[in-house]
Symmetry: C2
Subunit: 324 residues, 2 copies
C-alpha cells in the first residue's frame, strides 16, 4: 500500500479537495486559501484537538478516530445550543501513513459530519511524527445556553447514561475481545453521539438555566459548573449505564469510576428550573432524546452523590492535561 | 521556573481565560465550551497548523512563533479579501514547557491579533510531546477574491519583495549572528506582516482577477495559480529584496532560490486587468502598501522568469509536506 510520503501532498490534497463540501452561497472554490459563505444570525464556534499518542488507544480504527474528532467539536457547539454548519480540519499526518489509512480517517470525518448536518469545507495539511487532528466546528444558534446560570434549587439532568464509553476504552486498552457485551461497549466508545437535537430543543425551552458537555467526565463537568456558578450539587440518581454495571462486575472494574471519571461521553449536563421541568423533558423527548433527572443544585458548594445507599463526596479528579 | 506539568491545566486555563477577548454581542462567557457572536455578512474562515519539530527553527523566540501562527492564518483570510474578527487557538504543549515560555508564546498571539484587529476568543488545550498550534481565523469580507479568475493578458503583481524572510531562516538555521543585516533578515522572518489592508483595497478594486497568499514560496504560489486557472506566467521583473541580494552575496547563498523557493513571505500574489492597473496600484497605495508589477499571465501553461538577462523556466519545487 502506498504511503503518504510516496504519493506526496499534492496528490493527497487533490483527493481531499474533490471530497470537500460547498457551503450554500460560497464564492471561493473548494481548496482555495480560505472558505467563505454568507451568514446572518448567531455564530457559535468551537475547536477540539486530538493527538494519536495521547488520545488514540491501540485497536481503535482510524475511521472511529475521524468520527470522534468531528463529534468532539460538535458536542461543544451543541452544548451551547448550536447546530453545525461547517467544519474545517487541520491535520498533522506521518509520512508513513498509508493512503488507505488516511481514507479511513477521512471517511470517519464524513460519517460524523453527515450525521450532524455540517459540511467539511476545508482545513490545513502538515506532516509530522504522529497524527494530530484539530476540528473547528462552525454552527448557528437561535438561542444560546451558557455554562453560567445554574441556581440553588434547580434540577440537574443529563441526556444519557454514563460509564459504557469508559468501559469500552478499558476493553480496548486491556485488549478484551470476543464478548458481545464488550463489542457493544467498544462501539459506544468509538461512536458516541453529540446531542445536537436535544440541545437545540433545550435551548428553546424556558426551563434551561445552564449547560455543559461531558467529554472530560461527569465529575469534571459538574466541578466546572460548580466553579463558574458558585454552587454545589446533590446527585440522588446517578446516571449509571446498565451495560457498565455488567462490564464492571464481569471484569472487576470500579463502577463509580467508570460513571464519574471515565469521560468520553458526549452527553449534556444541564440545570433546569424545577417548575418547568416537564416542559424540558417533553421538548427533549420530541427531539428524539431523553432527559434523566439525576439531582439538584445546592447552595453549599460541594458535590455529593447517593451511591449504594450512602452519601459520598465526589472528589475532583477528572482529566487534567499536563499532570501525570 | 515552574513548568506546565507542575502548575497543571486548571491554572493555565485560568490564566488564558482572563486574557481572552470578548466579541461584540457575545452571550457566552470567556472559557465556555464554544464562542459566540452575532454576524451578518460574508464569513471567511481559514486555519493554519504549525508544529515545533517541523516549523520552528532553533533560535526562534516563542513570542515570534505565536506571532507567526496568527499571521499565517490571517494571511489566508486576507488573501481572499477578508478582515480578521476572531481567532480560536488549539494548542498541544509539552508538560516540561515553563510558564514563562508559554506566556511568551501567548504574548506573540496577542501582538499579532492586535495588529490585525481580531480578538482571541477561545480554543482548546492539550498536552503532548511537542508544541503544535492550530489557529482558526474568522473574518468578514465585503468582496471576495478567489484563486480562480486569472486570464491570459492579465498583469501579475505582488505586494512586496521576496527573499529576505528565507535569508532570515537561513541565518537562524546556520546560527549566523552579530551582523546588522542578518538581524534585519531574522526580524523579517520572525515578524512578517499579513497584507490585510492591501487585500481589502484590492478586493474593492474592479481590477483584480485572482489572488493567493505566498507562504509556501513564490514559485509554489505561481504554480497553484497556474494549475487552477490553466494559464502560465512570464516574470520580467522578479521582486527581489535588496537585503536578500546583499545576504546572498555575503553568505554565498543562491539568490534565485531565496526569492522563489524560500517561502515564509506573507505577500499577496495577484492578477489584474491591464486597463485598470493604475486603479489597483492607487488603491493599494492609499491602503499604505505597494503593488509591484512583476510580469503577466500567458496562455502557454509554463512559468518563465527573466533572470540576469536570460529567460529561464521556473521549476516546481516549492514545499511539499510528506516528501523528504
Amino acid at each position: 500500500m502506498r504511503k503518504l510520503g510516496e504519493s506526496g501532498e499534492k496528490k493527497l490534497l487533490e483527493w481531499i479537495v474533490k471530497r470537500l463540501g460547498e457551503a450554500d452561497g460560497a464564492l471561493l472554490p473548494p481548496g482555495d486559501d480560505a472558505v467563505d459563505f454568507p451568514f446572518k444570525g448567531r455564530l457559535i464556534i468551537s475547536c477540539d484537538m486530538l493527538a494519536e499518542k495521547t488520545d488514540i488507544p491501540a485497536g481503535m480504527s482510524l475511521r472511529s478516530v475521524g468520527y470522534k474528532a468531528i463529534t468532539a467539536a460538535t458536542s461543544d457547539v451543541a452544548a451551547k445550543g448550536g447546530k453545525p454548519i461547517a467544519y474545517l480540519i487541520s491535520l498533522m499526518l506521518p509520512p508513513d501513513m498509508t493512503e488507505e489509512a488516511f481514507e479511513d480517517l477521512w471517511r470517519g470525518f464524513e460519517e460524523a459530519a453527515k450525521l450532524y448536518g455540517g459540511k467539511i469545507l476545508g482545513g490545513d495539511l502538515n506532516s509530522g511524527d504522529q497524527i494530530v487532528i484539530d476540528v473547528t466546528c462552525v454552527g448557528r444558534a437561535e438561542k444560546i445556553i451558557s455554562r453560567l446560570g445554574a441556581r440553588p434549587g434547580d434540577i440537574l439532568a443529563v441526556t444519557g447514561e454514563f460509564g459504557a464509553q469508559a468501559a469500552g476504552l478499558h476493553a480496548l486498552l486491556n485488549d478484551i475481545k470476543n464478548d458481545p457485551l464488550v463489542e457493544k461497549m467498544i462501539q459506544s466508545f468509538e461512536r458516541p453521539v453529540a446531542r445536537v437535537a436535544e440541545a437545540t430543543a433545550l435551548a428553546e425551552s424556558a426551563a434551561i438555566t445552564s449547560s455543559i458537555d461531558s467529554s472530560d467526565g461527569l465529575a469534571e463537568s459538574l466541578y466546572q459548573l460548580s466553579d463558574v456558578n458558585d454552587v454545589g450539587f446533590v446527585i440522588e440518581n446517578p446516571p449509571v449505564s446498565e451495560d457498565a454495571v455488567r462490564y464492571a462486575e464481569k471484569f472487576g472494574v470500579d463502577l463509580f469510576d467508570l460513571v464519574f471519571y471515565g469521560g468520553e461521553e458526549y452527553e449534556l449536563v444541564v440545570t433546569l428550573k424545577p417548575k418547568m421541568l416537564s416542559d424540558a423533558v417533553e421538548a427533549v423527548r420530541r427531539a428524539g432524546g431523553k432527559l434523566i433527572v439525576i439531582g439538584r443544585v445546592t447552595e453549599d458548594k460541594v458535590i455529593k452523590v447517593r451511591w449504594l445507599g450512602k452519601e459520598k463526596l465526589l472528589e475532583r479528579r477528572g482529566y487534567e492535561h499536563f499532570k501525570p
